[in-house]
Amino acid sequence: MTRTFGSSLLALGAVGVVTAVSVGLLPVLGLASAALLFLLPVLLGAARGGLWPGLVATLAGASAYNFFLLEPRYSFRVHQLDSLVSVAVLGVVAAVTSRLATRLMAREAEANARAAASEEAARLSALLAAGPADEALGAGLAFVAARYAPVYLLDGALPAGSDAGFSSLDLSAAAWALHNGDRTGHGTETMAAADWSFIPLALRSRSDQAVLALARPSDGHPRSPAELDQLQQLALLLGACRDRASLEQVRRDRERLEQSEQLRRTFLASLAHDFRTPLTVITGQLAQLAQRDPAAADALVAAGQLERTMADLLGLARIEDGSLVVASESLDVIDSVGAACDAVALPAGITLQRAVPTDLPFVRGDPVMLHHALANLVDNAMRHAHTTVRVSAAGTAERVEIVVEDDGSGIPAADRAEVFDRFRRLAGSDRTAGSGLGLAIVKGFTEAMGGDVSIGESPLGGARFALGLPGVPEPVG
């Protein structure tokens, strides 16, 4: 307003100067050139103050030209038609010039504002790109706060109202912005009566939306749409930085998890190592002694039991922490049964029968897990049998079942469901030296391989364990 007024006064002054000069020099200049001189105040007024000073200069200039220079002079009357035309042309030219100058000025102002906005966004970008994302986000918020107004980042959840001095309307506006990803609050069309403006960090509704809360400008003027647009751009930059921060957080969490997994695996491996080395010395020396002293033979058996319990514990730890890596390859049950039977010592008085048909389809599984599971089943059967343990297999290309059965006292139907539980030892099984873990391992390993294990009654009189695995279709090659 003041600028328009000042420019108008200046333009009027310029009209006065031009009038004085052209009156004095009229004989030398001629009317046409004098008319041109009157365009100068119009340009001056329009360039400095825009349309209105330009129009003021146009009217004043046309009047002065008519009054002081056109015949009859010192009157507004016009005698000749050409004089009327020159006044009119002066007026039109002045009006057009002032409009053009005004438009130019507006463009310049717009360009300046855009440049300032881009520069601001670029500076924020640079700030956000430097250093770890979570620290950069803090610096970015401080940057916005320093330039606009106090600011909060509402990340996913609403704050307690009193913390930032939010009214209930502010909180509603914040909730709307968080939920829908719209701009709300002061300066916007949604809940404009709120004291704070809420600007989403992403332009769409998403579950992990965050919102920038900006206090009303301290000088009291309402926040303009242009300022809100600029703030939205800055908020998007902050949003990208926040996404980067959460990705970094996810990566750090995963690394920590991997480290602890690694630590646990290393621990289990070193535990096995730390057990086995002394056990080697104990069993080795006992084996020497046992050749002369039957008491040492008992100790040797006990040490062997200790070793098996340790292996079962480690196997179970692996099943439970989910770190089992299961291989899946084609296996010949003849190999698996043979190795399992070889791995278990045959007690005196027990006969081991094997019946694996030589045309049995191969199975798919993990060789080491299947070995461990079968050895545990055979070991279990040996400990419960009176005279006979039988290992057999049958099946098709879809499913092969390996059966381990004995002629012991069997397992009552009521107890069968619990046999595979950890540390489960059925009543009356005191003479058996099992750890109570062996069958839990059988179940864990078999299921990890995609197989199943069930328990029933054997025609021999004792328990019958059936371990089912997927078969392998007829091989080619």
């Binding site: 086995r276 056990l279 080795g284 020396q285 698996s336 190795a339 030589t358 091989p475 090659g477």
Partner: protein
């Protein structure tokens, strides 16, 4: 009968090995570190006839030492380790170990493995000669196989697998090594090929193919002749 180098950082294990090996009349040389082991092996050709190697040494990884021993000499190495991971065993065998025994070990089994390893070293039969293992007699030049003097007709693949097993003289061969030798590098992982041929061989060679005594499998590792 032989000078055997035991490399282990546990003195109690070394003492135990001394007692066990004495049963077969072997003389034990001990080393507590990889550096001592290399020094003992470098003492002179023929001084050491077999090595028992623990993988957990204080100054160097056991598998790395194994590679260095292999680069230096052909003496058979039996890995004797508390590490029981199959991948570790396969890695050791593929790096040239003659066998792998897990702690705690059975003394008689260790001695048996040691006998096989000692027999295998330096006694490779001339190419094209006749190889004998237990009841199996294999004439590579004539492409003939006899089991207890009874001729057996084998396919070329079966013959090739059996030839590699017999030549190993009871040492274990990993699945990958067998597949690579007989089928080529591209088929290292095609265990099923090997299973098919082994089953066919058992049907032709074993008294009871459902309870094989000649061709034995170690789960996840490989096959050996007994």
């Amino acid at each position: 009968m032989s000078r055997v180098l035991a490399v282990d950082d546990e003195p109690a294990i070394l003492r135990l090995l001394g007692v066990v090996l004495a049963r077969d009349g072997h003389q034990l040389v001990t080393a507590g570190t990889a550096r001592d082991a290399l020094a003992a092996l470098g003492a002179g050709p023929g001084a050491i006839e077999a090595v028992l190697l623990d993988l957990g040494l204080p100054d160097r990884d056991g598998l790395e030492l194994l590679t260095m021993i292999r680069a230096q000499t052909t003496v058979p190495v039996i890995v004797l380790s508390a590490r029981s991971e199959v991948t570790e065993k396969v890695a050791a065998l593929d790096l040239g170990a003659a066998d792998y025994v897990t702690k705690p070990f059975d003394g008689d089994e260790l001695l048996a493995r040691l006998r096989v390893a000692l027999r295998g070293s330096g006694t490779t039969a001339p190419r094209g000669g006749v190889l004998v293992h237990g009841p199996i007699r294999l004439d590579a030049a004539r492409h003939e196989v006899f089991i207890a003097d009874r001729p057996v007709s084998l396919t070329p693949r079966e013959f090739a697998v059996l030839e590699v097993l017999v030549a190993a003289g009871g040492r274990i061969l990993t699945h990958a090594a067998l597949l690579e030798t007989v089928w080529g590098k591209a088929h290292r992982d095609d265990v099923e090929y090997l299973r098919v041929v082994i089953r066919a061989l058992r049907l032709k060679l074993e008294d009871d193919p459902g309870q094989p005594r000649l061709i034995r499998n170690e789960p996840g590792i490989g096959y050996r002749l007994c």
